[in-house]
Symmetry: none
Subunit: 410 residues, 2 copies
């Protein structure tokens, strides 16, 4: 059993939603990577009673708690006071902390406001955490079952202190055995379809399976215990990859650095010094926009009416004709652009179908690579922005599949 850890964020700006609590996510990632089981995040505002109750609750249920915020000089910064009251540890003046705060202002040629003196008051017996990046020192203390660490809420200060002062203490205070996380990234399969595909795979009870569906990829996650055999791990991941087939565009956690779909395409296109020209319809520039910074993308064209691409209006054509039209547009564009590869996205479905979230449209993607055409058809539903994003992804994925297949065949 891993030791448990909770994240506690203090601040009115967080509970009112003015600030998104990115500290909590960052600290959790760090804690999980260290070998903790993170059990809970809690955020409360600047109310002394809420803070006291929460501190007492956490002291009984977690092995460790990282708290951020509420260490500032103003009257709504109540963390130290709440700790003093909750744990009956009166605030005491810390001379070294005060000297550091004074020096912080002196270095910046500013007079220290009287209110900052408050930041040198720490709960009795707490260990000070020096903060050279700001005025608020952190502190740590054990109460009940839990080791508490209090850090400032400013993300840069918080991250710096965590990495420089806390990480080493965590390893010495706790027996940590971090799990190994494998993330299989796919496109084109929903979470439930993935579950169907992998249901015949026997997953040892000590391996945790999870899913995460984002707008740009679906992640299948396998969490292996600390000492899991590498051979058994690789064997299980391989079985997953086989079941998910060429929907898998990257596997994270096996050593090689991976990224999103565009990252994978970028690597393959750049390695082989290839170039690409694109025609977009439904994605309306988003395909090109996703590739920002990629030198291999020479051009994109979006035309509301494909008649203006020098070919028949596609809305009047059938699926067969669309495929033929796409090939002709691709061949023309390869000649005129001089790009190695050309990607053409055509669409069947009128503007009404595009705008109506209850109607679906059909996307016809054509890749002209070397001297051969590769085509794929997809039905896309949902709100227009989802259709736009899926249209961009599906066209890019046709390119990715071709590039990865080619990489295997080399």
């Amino acid at each position: 059993m891993n030791p448990t850890l909770e994240i506690f964020s203090q601040g009115e700006e967080i509970v009112t939603g003015q600030t998104v609590d990115t500290n909590a996510a960052w600290l959790s990632q760090q804690a999980v990577a260290c070998g903790f089981t993170v059990t809970r995040h809690t955020a409360v505002g600047d109310k002394l009673d809420d803070l006291i109750i929460l501190l007492l609750d956490i002291s009984q249920r977690a092995d460790c708690c990282i708290c951020t915020g509420g260490l500032g000089p103003t009257s709504d910064d109540l963390t130290a006071e709440a700790v003093a009251l909750a744990f009956n540890l009166p605030l005491e003046f810390d001379g070294i902390a005060f000297e550091q705060i004074t020096r912080f202002f002196a270095h910046r040629n500013r007079t220290m406001p009287e209110s900052n003196r408050k930041q040198a008051m720490l709960p009795q017996g707490a260990e000070r955490i020096d903060n050279e990046w700001g005025t608020a020192p952190g502190f740590s203390l054990q109460y009940g079952r839990c080791w508490f660490v209090f850090l400032p809420g400013v993300p840069t200060e918080m991250k710096h202190l965590f990495q420089e002062r806390i990480l080493a203490k965590l390893s010495s205070r706790f027996l940590l055995k971090p799990d190994q996380l494998i993330t299989i990234k796919t496109l084109g399969l929903g979470e439930s379809v993935i579950q169907e595909r992998i249901k015949t795979i026997e997953i040892p009870p000590e391996v945790q399976l999870g899913f995460r569906a984002g707008t740009d990829e679906v992640q299948t996650k396998l969490l292996f215990p600390y000492n899991y055999s590498k051979t058994a791990k690789t064997a299980l991941v391989t079985r997953f990859a086989e079941q998910l087939g060429d929907h898998v565009f990257a596997i994270d956690g096996l050593g090689e650095l991976t990224g999103d779909l565009v990252f994978e395409i970028d690597r393959l296109m750049t390695n082989r010094r290839l170039t690409l020209a694109v025609v977009e319809t439904v994605s309306q520039g988003l395909l090109a926009a996703k590739c920002v910074g990629s030198e291999w993308l020479l051009s994109t064209i979006y035309e509301q009416s494909t008649a203006r691409l020098g070919h028949d209006p596609v809305t009047e054509a059938g699926a067969e004709n669309l495929m033929v039209t796409a090939k002709a547009i691709a061949a023309d564009l390869q000649k005129s652009s001089g790009a190695n590869y050309v990607l053409v996205q055509l669409c069947a479905g009128d503007n009404d179908a595009l705008n109506n979230k209850d109607k679906s449209i059909v996307i016809y993607n054509t890749l002209l690579a070397e001297d051969s055409f590769h085509q794929a058809t997809h039905s896309i539903a949902g709100p227009i922005k989802r259709k736009q994003n899926q249209a961009a992804l599906m066209a890019l994925d046709l390119l990715r599949r071709y590039l990865q297949q080619k990489a295997i065949n080399y």
Copy 2:
């Protein structure tokens, strides 16, 4: 006293930090705007016991709770089960929910996996919340002191359901006295510049001033008490608007529905039945992508080398020449596209400057409208994705200023 509300997020991906909980911030903002006092955010993972304890705790201490996540089809989606156990409300099969889930798959020509059947099981007595954007219906129920609302964790679905199905119910269930929020939306002024500009304005102590800087706009927020006089409110907002000048593209909260920059442009272009053709450089398709669903956008072209637009490569030209080149490209495109307006974005700065976050690039935007040219120059710094986004916004803002100015002169 406002009624209290808590946010409860369920998901291993949140407690482990794989996902930043933006849902909690968004929901809190909405709740505050409605007239609730948000007291706490809590996130827990996929552990039945944790969920049950938390649900019981919340049922005793809050008037309302919005819960997100854990409604999916997979075995780690435990919300409904936890509710059933915590509140002793056995799960019951909901035929209408099942029919909706079945239809969701049928519309997409996919077979419904057996696992999705689980999503039609709702706690006894719960009111179903139909979700036409995904497979998971939400539900609501009263237990103890608290009215619970359970929504899917996918942000688009969650937001849609909250706005379409929950907001109205909140107003009918609770006596809400929301503060009156005015949001002045600007582009092109940083937060500190705005503060300088407004510093001479006297703000009554009962009015709260706040700022929120997003990637696509900066919001200056004025929060007036529930019963604040309309005349005094309008007078103060007008003073702010005067100081911020034509950087203001919309003012929210005065009655008229407003949106983002594209929303404002869309209204003006559609009203006058105008059309637009675009040439993009740094924005690389993102300008067009932002306008998805707008019938007035006829085309966009992105070319890595402007030589291919039939004009001199812009990187070798000076600012003067760039302006001339842009006009020539705009005039050509107006002829060939038949669009009423043409927007041309050119850029001075090489690839190195674009990719280097410490270097800035200069964008030259040209609008050809009716028979006249309008030009604006902007220096943009930061990471490449910021440059891309700002380039798209600045070009669109040139169009917005022209359209709004014209609307005033009519």
